[in-house]
């Protein structure tokens, strides 16, 4: 390789890039493809900040793609094909980390990109621990928690008090639904097997700890319907197929508040998870500018608080919490339905993403083998 | 049963009717009886009811009314597999997944014959049709004629007394057909079996059968030996259907027991034999075979009536001459003459006179 020639070429290139950069500060693409989950969640995003943004920037058009569930696989495929068509992707935190690990998502400087809190707190402090990856811009905190039917004759009036009701077939007989993956279930199993909350991942790291969790799950295996889509548990609860089951708290909220089903939520040991934005690697300059402009708007304190008017997920900014208002259509005060509400969050979990990134492959194989037994 | 004729009859149809849709009769009041050992052909155009009759006899169709008897016993309620009738189909119906030997073995197996007996009968049946060496072939490896021989052998191998054949030679070429026609009749007579044969080919019917039943419109129009059928057709349908035929139309002018005079529509008068006419003034259709038309008037009776004719076309056929004439306003009148030294070779446009013997010209229904 002729290094000198390469060097001279670069000098010119860097020079032009700098000039172009100065000009392109105002140059923004007018089209943006946003990838989200579809359904009620996407609707809340649309109402809370996409439509207001489009009102302020009428020249922009947004294309929605409802592929977040396969975000990682599809982005990887697009990247391999050399044709990334997405501009902004909504993903759960663990997916965001994987996208980051794979080099498919862009690392961002949160303080530079995002708005400060109204009181001047830097964005990185306002989001705090929830920035679990350099590529991840949190939006909401949701939780996986348990809902149960209140009209079970066999329960003879008993109501579940804590998470271990899942494993108590004597007091609370009937079918239950759990997610068809180890994450969350393993933690609950150990917790109900007497492991202290802050030791769970240490225990789960060992072979014995994993066996212990599986042994606990074994006690209810015959009474479990395993779900893989978020809509499954609400449907099963509504049909009376199961007496209790885990799902996302927003789904349970609409089952209870909107459909009026005889179901209650058990907030105990709810597992927090995060959902937020990632920017795909390799966007061209104008598109990136547009995406950054949008993100600055869409993740500010007011916008995140607005989103909770449409869906029962907690805003990821601390500064948004006091601004949570009533549901836009039902008129219900939303704060008590937030997973982050003090009354609900007496006993909570936050996934250890790093830990699961390591153990996911291994435990998943074991979990599947266990299921197939 | 008391009647002598019915005990002799081997196959009998008595007042049999058949309708598929409850509105139209396909077979209308069929009465037919044939003695043991007879080769009877059912001849007729398609839709005339001949195949339906055969299927009723085989048991694949049930008669709507009437009785069918086999060897004196009513078989109306006997399922086909218990009737013991051999059958040969137009498309041979050889089972393609079995070898020739297995095909022949099939009827013997369902009759629970022992292996050695089966082998013996199969060999005999195959030899009968000169197909002995094809025992292990598959039907698809055989030619059409070979397949039909096998089908024949299969229908005969279990030694039925009655064999039905449904246009068995329809799919074969002319030469092969003729060979097989001969073989089938020869075999039938040698084995003394009774055969009911269905065809729409009149040559086949005439050459093979002891008797022919001509079907039309669900009825037997005439049941007679071949020569009688050809020479003495009972009605104009049979006359038209069997062999080549000239027809002329007119009105009966004079009639007695053995002859009559017919005035044609153009005013000419001809001699004819009254067959289906009974009184003066009746309209009739007369039928003359082309080979009975005579242009050498010296050979006719001096009193015979003759007709003027114009030669339209003269065709040299080798052994015969075929002359198309315009007679009584029709130009499709055919005269067939033997190629003899004294026979004139006519030219188109030539004016001649023609005539015939009164008994050769049959006055039939209009």
């Amino acid at each position: 390789m002729n290094i000198t020639r390469l060097l001279t070429a670069t000098t010119a290139l860097v020079a032009t890039a700098t000039i172009a950069g100065a000009e392109s500060h105002v140059e923004m693409a007018n089209e943006m493809t946003i990838v989200s989950w579809g359904g009620a969640y996407q609707e809340s995003q649309r109402k809370a900040y996409v439509e207001p943004y489009l009102e302020a920037n009428p020249e922009v058009t947004v294309t929605w793609d409802e592929s977040s569930a396969e975000a990682v696989a599809k982005l990887r495929a697009q990247n391999e094909a050399g044709n990334v068509t997405w501009d902004l992707v909504d993903a759960v935190a663990s997916d965001a980390m994987r996208l980051c690990d794979e080099g498919l998502a862009m690392e961002v400087d949160h303080d530079e990109l995002l708005a400060e809190a109204p009181d001047g707190t830097a964005a990185s402090d306002d989001f705090g621990d929830l920035i679990v990856s350099d590529c991840f811009i949190p939006q909401i905190v949701y939780s996986t928690t348990v809902g149960y039917r209140t009209d079970n004759a066999e329960w003879e009036g008993r109501t579940p008090e804590d998470i271990c009701a899942i494993f108590d077939l004597e007091q609370f007989p009937g079918q239950r639904s759990l997610e068809k993956r180890p994450i969350g279930n393993m933690e609950w199993a150990l917790l109900c097997d007497g492991v202290a909350k802050d030791e769970i991942y240490d225990v789960l790291e060992t072979e014995e700890g994993q066996d212990r969790a599986f042994a606990k799950l074994d006690t209810i295996k015959d009474s479990v319907i395993w779900w893989s889509a978020g809509a499954d548990t609400p449907q099963l609860l509504a049909d009376g197929e199961v007496v209790m089951g885990s799902t996302y708290n927003g789904r349970l909220f609409s089952l209870i508040a909107e459909q009026g089903q005889p179901v209650e939520m058990l907030w105990d040991a709810q597992v927090f998870d995060l959902d937020g934005w990632v920017i795909p690697e390799g966007l061209d300059e104008p598109t990136l500018n547009r995406v950054k402009d949008f993100l600055h708007f869409a993740t500010d304190t007011q916008r995140l608080a607005d989103q909770s008017k449409y869906i029962a997920y907690g805003p990821a900014r601390q500064s948004s919490a006091p601004m949570v208002d009533k549901h836009a259509e039902l008129g219900i005060e939303m704060a008590p339905h937030m997973p982050t509400d003090p009354a609900n969050s007496e006993n909570t979990f936050l996934y250890n993403y790093e830990w699961w990134a390591d153990y996911r492959d291994d435990l998943d194989a074991k979990f599947q083998a266990w299921l197939a037994q | 049963m008391a009647q002598g004729s019915s005990t002799e009859a081997f196959v009998e149809f008595e007042r049999v009717q058949k309708s598929y849709d409850g509105e139209k009769l396909v077979v209308k009041d069929l009465n037919l009886s044939l003695p043991k050992g007879e080769f009877l052909t059912m001849l007729g155009p398609s839709g005339s009811g001949k195949t339906t009759c055969l299927m009723m006899l085989a048991g694949f169709e049930t008669a709507t009314h009437g009785e069918i008897r086999l060897d004196g016993k009513s078989i109306n309620n006997i399922p086909p597999h218990k009737r013991g009738i051999g059958m040969v189909f137009q498309n041979y119906a050889l089972f393609p997944h079995m070898t020739v030997g297995e095909n022949l073995s099939f009827p013997l197996e369902v009759r629970k014959l022992g292996k050695s007996e089966r082998e013996q009968k199969i060999t005999r049946a195959l030899d009968m049709v000169q197909m002995g060496e094809f025992k292990n072939r598959r039907p698809t490896q055989l030619s059409g004629g070979q397949q039909q021989r096998i089908a024949l052998a299969r229908a005969l191998v279990f030694e039925p007394e009655l064999v039905l054949m449904d246009e068995p030679l329809g799919a074969l070429d002319k030469q092969l057909r003729e060979t097989l026609q001969f073989e089938i009749t020869e075999l039938a007579h040698r084995l003394g079996i009774t055969v009911v044969y269905v065809t729409h080919d009149q040559t086949e019917a005439l050459t093979m059968s002891d008797r022919v039943a001509v079907f039309d419109d669900g009825r037997i129009q005439q049941l007679a030996p071949p020569d009688e059928l050809y020479e003495k057709p009972q009605n104009s349908f049979v006359a038209q259907f069997i062999g080549e035929n000239n027809t002329l139309e007119g009105v009966v002018e004079k009639i007695d027991a053995t002859s009559c005079l017919v005035r044609l529509d153009d005013g000419e008068v001809i001699d004819a034999l009254p067959v289906n006419v009974s009184k003066v003034g009746e309209r009739t259709r007369v039928s003359i075979r082309p080979e009975r038309v005579e242009s050498n008037l010296e050979r006719l009776h001096p009193d015979a009536h003759t007709l003027p004719a114009t030669v339209q076309e003269f065709i040299y056929m080798g052994d015969t001459f075929r002359t198309r004439l315009k007679v009584a306003g029709r130009d499709d009148f055919i005269m067939k003459t033997r190629n003899a030294p004294d026979q004139p070779r006519l030219k188109p446009g030539e004016q001649i006179r023609i005539g015939w013997l009164a008994e050769d010209c049959r006055a039939l229904d209009a």
Binding site: L7, T10, D101, D358 | H81, F106, V110
Partner: protein, 530 residues
């Protein structure tokens, strides 16, 4: 016959009508050899035929052959290790570290260079996730050390070199030195590191190397070159490194994460250093490359794929069999009914085709669940106790019922089209020979319909073996197929190599079954009609 005898047969056969007798190759009218001109004519015809099918051919190549080839390639492809850590892999091979031991400083020094560069390209985490499929914990090991590696204490070399020869600080000087062949030859490691850094700076970061500081890892390689006894030409500053303060890179890695001292990790890197691997295939049959490099079965609690393959096979057979059982009488009825009623029935058979697969499957859910229509009816009829409702879904039963329903038309259609071609005269012939209804059916009609069963079975079996959505929705845990795991590895775990290996095995299984079928039944006996 007598006429043909009059033709004199004496005429020689070789004589052409023109009277000329030819010798040697036959010639066409224009004098060219007949064979050549025939070939030319045929070639033109072939070309035209090729042209006609070319759209389809291209489509098949692009949409079918290509992806399958890509899948086969992916199932063995493993360039990621040698591409991300090229120097480490080379050093490991050269070194031949005894089994069960951690390699020495030299390998770690190369790993340092590799990892610094990989971190800059942000590809080290990708390698971490790849190796994490084989060994738990590698993912976070690479991620955490990736964060540390840029801040390793190797800057002591930089400081000491700059102090000893300030010219070393200016990248412009480096550019000049590295132009000289003699310098490059004397300092191979340094030259390699320098080139890598320049490429990285220019292409990835789009910066000007002349404006950047020469990085620590270049100085570290320079130190290693010099301690190895290199004597650069005079143009290069003469620095005596013997008195330099040193740092153990191995120790730096150990400080970052003690897992680097795990011999198993190094065994793993070595095992997966070749460009192609059987690892995915081993994994796909519940095996793995053991610590000794030999293939061995995974522990019991991780074995799943063989079981799933087996289950996929036998459930597909059960589904195929139920399709035959249900489809045969319907097809029989269809083929014997008059055309008009047959057409009405045919529409009923095809109706499921016109409904979305998802809708049909979900409908089964409503019907089969414990509080569903069927159970409700059974309870109402008193056949089933209200507290012991039948478990008809989320298990094998559910999958078999729903898939039989969905695949039934694929059985009925070929059966029908074959049965339609069986002439009724065969059965009549059989009956006329004395066979009763059953014998005529069993010995004549049924054997002739077997090609339809064959075609339908192949269709249904191969379709069901790759089915995914229906088992996912109604299969619960016992009723899922191997394809559900393939989908999981494609979309969730991102272990595409394993997914490709599973897919390849599935493909091979189908081909083997097809071959077996051909051997036993004969593929000529498969008819879709006619």
């Amino acid at each position: 016959m007598t006429h043909s005898a009059t033709t004199p047969p004496e005429q020689p056969m070789a004589a052409l009508p023109g009277g000329e007798v030819t010798e040697g190759p036959m010639l066409a009218a224009d004098g060219t050899p007949l064979k050549a001109s025939l070939k030319r004519a045929l070639r033109r015809e072939k070309l035209r035929a090729l042209l006609l099918i070319s759209p389809l051919l291209i489509f098949i190549l692009v949409a079918f052959v290509g992806p399958i080839a890509d899948m086969l390639f992916r199932s063995v492809e493993n360039q990621i290790v040698s591409e991300t850590l090229p120097r480490t892999v080379a050093a490991l091979r050269a070194e031949d570290t005894p089994e069960g031991e951690v390699p020495d400083e030299e390998v770690f020094a190369q790993l340092y260079t590799d990892l610094v560069i990989a971190e800059e390209y942000k590809i080290h985490t990708r390698l971490g996730s790849r190796l994490n499929y084989e060994m738990t914990g590698v993912s976070s090991l690479f991620r955490s050390t990736g964060r540390d590696v840029g801040r390793f204490d190797t800057d002591i070399y930089t400081d000491q070199f700059v102090e000893a020869a300030p010219a070393l600080e200016d990248p412009a000087n480096w550019v000049a030195w590295m132009e000289e062949e003699a310098v490059r030859e004397a300092l191979p490691l340094t030259a390699d590191a320098w080139d890598e850094w320049v490429t990285l700076t220019v292409e990835e970061n789009e910066d000007d190397p002349l404006e950047e500081d020469v990085p620590d890892f270049v100085f570290t390689t320079l130190y290693r070159d010099l301690t190895a006894g290199a004597t650069p030409p005079d143009a290069f500053p003469d620095v005596d490194v013997s008195g330099f303060e040193t740092v153990s890179i191995k120790a730096l890695f150990e400080d970052s994460d003690e897992d680097w001292m795990d011999p198993q990790l190094w065994q793993l890197i070595e095992t997966y250093s070749p460009e192609y691997t059987d690892g995915y295939f081993l994994n796909a049959v519940d095996m793995m490359n053991g610590p000794d490099g030999e293939a061995q079965f995974r522990p019991d609690d991780q074995r799943i794929y063989l079981k799933l393959f087996w289950r996929t096979m036998w459930m597909s057979m059960v589904i195929t069999f139920s399709c035959i059982l249900l489809g045969y009488p319907i097809a029989y009825l269809l083929s014997t009914l008059p055309l008009r009623s047959a057409n009405v029935l045919m529409i009923l058979v095809l109706l499921p085709f016109w409904t979305s697969l998802l809708v049909r499957t979900s409908a089964w859910k409503v019907l089969l669940q414990q509080q569903g229509v069927i159970n409700d009816t059974l309870v109402w009829l008193g056949l089933v106790d209200n507290f012991n409702r039948l478990q008809l879904i989320n298990n094998i039963t559910g999958t078999v019922i729903a898939m039989t329903h969905i695949l039934l038309p694929f059985m009925i259609l070929p059966l029908y089209s074959v049965m339609k071609t069986i002439p009724p005269s065969y059965v009549r012939a059989a009956k006329s020979m004395g066979a009763n209804d059953w014998t005529a059916f069993w010995r004549v009609w049924f054997p002739l319909s077997v090609p339809g069963i064959g075609a339908g079975s192949i269709l249904v079996f191969i379709l069901s073996i790759g089915y995914y959505i229906t088992p996912e929705i109604v299969g619960g845990t016992e009723g899922v197929f191997i394809s559900n795991r393939i989908a999981y590895h494609i979309s969730s775990s991102l272990n595409w190599g394993l997914a490709a290996a599973l897919g390849s095995i599935l493909l091979a299984l189908v081909l083997v079954l097809y071959w077996l079928y051909d051997r036993i039944v004969g593929i000529d006996n498969v008819k879709l009609g006619g």
